[in-house]
């Protein structure tokens, strides 16, 4: 069974469009995260949720809006896509906020904005 899954794996879209990425974890973890990995491989946190509550909200444009319907799901909606949004987006989870260094990552969603 897949521990952390993301859909879609690839997303190609045009500037100005709105798109969503879905994430689900079946590990029973309390905390979930969204990361962005740019072309230079830098992995940077965007958001984290603990039991559906927003905990970390980095300096991310308002066009990005996470939603956690329950603690097993964390979705990412992006409005008015821009060229600079092209990257690989990873969802991750950890058992709790404490000990959050041991995270389980999904396979990533490669977003290409043309």
């Amino acid at each position: 069974d897949t521990a952390v899954s993301q859909t879609p794996k690839y997303l190609v879209t045009q500037m100005g469009n709105d798109k969503s990425i879905k994430c689900e974890q079946n590990l029973g973890h309390d905390t979930m995260y969204w990361y962005k990995q740019d072309s230079k491989k830098f992995l940077k946190i965007m958001f984290s949720y603990n039991n559906k509550e927003l905990i970390i909200n980095e300096t991310v444009p308002n066009r990005f809006s996470p939603k956690s319907p329950d603690k097993a799901h964390l979705n990412l909606h992006i409005n008015s896509l821009e060229l600079g949004d092209s990257a690989v987006y990873f969802c991750a989870s950890s058992l709790k906020m404490t000990g959050a260094g041991e995270q389980y990552f999904g396979p990533g969603t490669r977003l290409t904005v043309t």
Binding site: K41, I56, G101, E102, Q103, Y104, G108
Partner: protein, 109 residues
């Protein structure tokens, strides 16, 4: 500002040629240092957690060590299947992980 720097950016080894990867960090209130492995097209995979200077962790051909300013990932007699990007991260106040840019390791047979 909290920061993690890894060196070298890329490392090419022959099978069996041992070496070390470096991770230097500056962080206020270190709550842990973590090593991850990332294969192409996949998400990072957790390897080790280190909490205090002098601590060491081992897994197969990998050994991670920690000082007050840096961590080393020692690779002993590497095999081609060890080829991957190795990421170092620190957990700062507020709980977020700050990652380095990674070291891309290539092991040739």
């Amino acid at each position: 500002e909290d920061q993690v720097t890894q060196s070298p950016e890329a490392l090419r080894l022959q099978e069996g040629e041992s070496s070390s990867l470096n991770c230097s960090y500056t962080v206020s209130g270190l709550r842990g240092l973590f090593w991850y492995r990332q294969d192409p097209g996949k998400g990072p995979e957790f390897l080790f957690t280190l909490y205090s200077a002098g601590e060491e962790k081992e897994k197969e051909r990998l050994k991670a060590t920690l000082t007050k300013k840096e961590s080393f990932l020692h690779i002993t007699a590497p095999k081609p299947e060890d080829s991957a990007t190795y990421l170092c991260a620190v957990q700062a106040r507020g709980g977020k992980l700050i990652f380095g840019q990674g070291t891309e390791l290539s092991v040739k047979p």
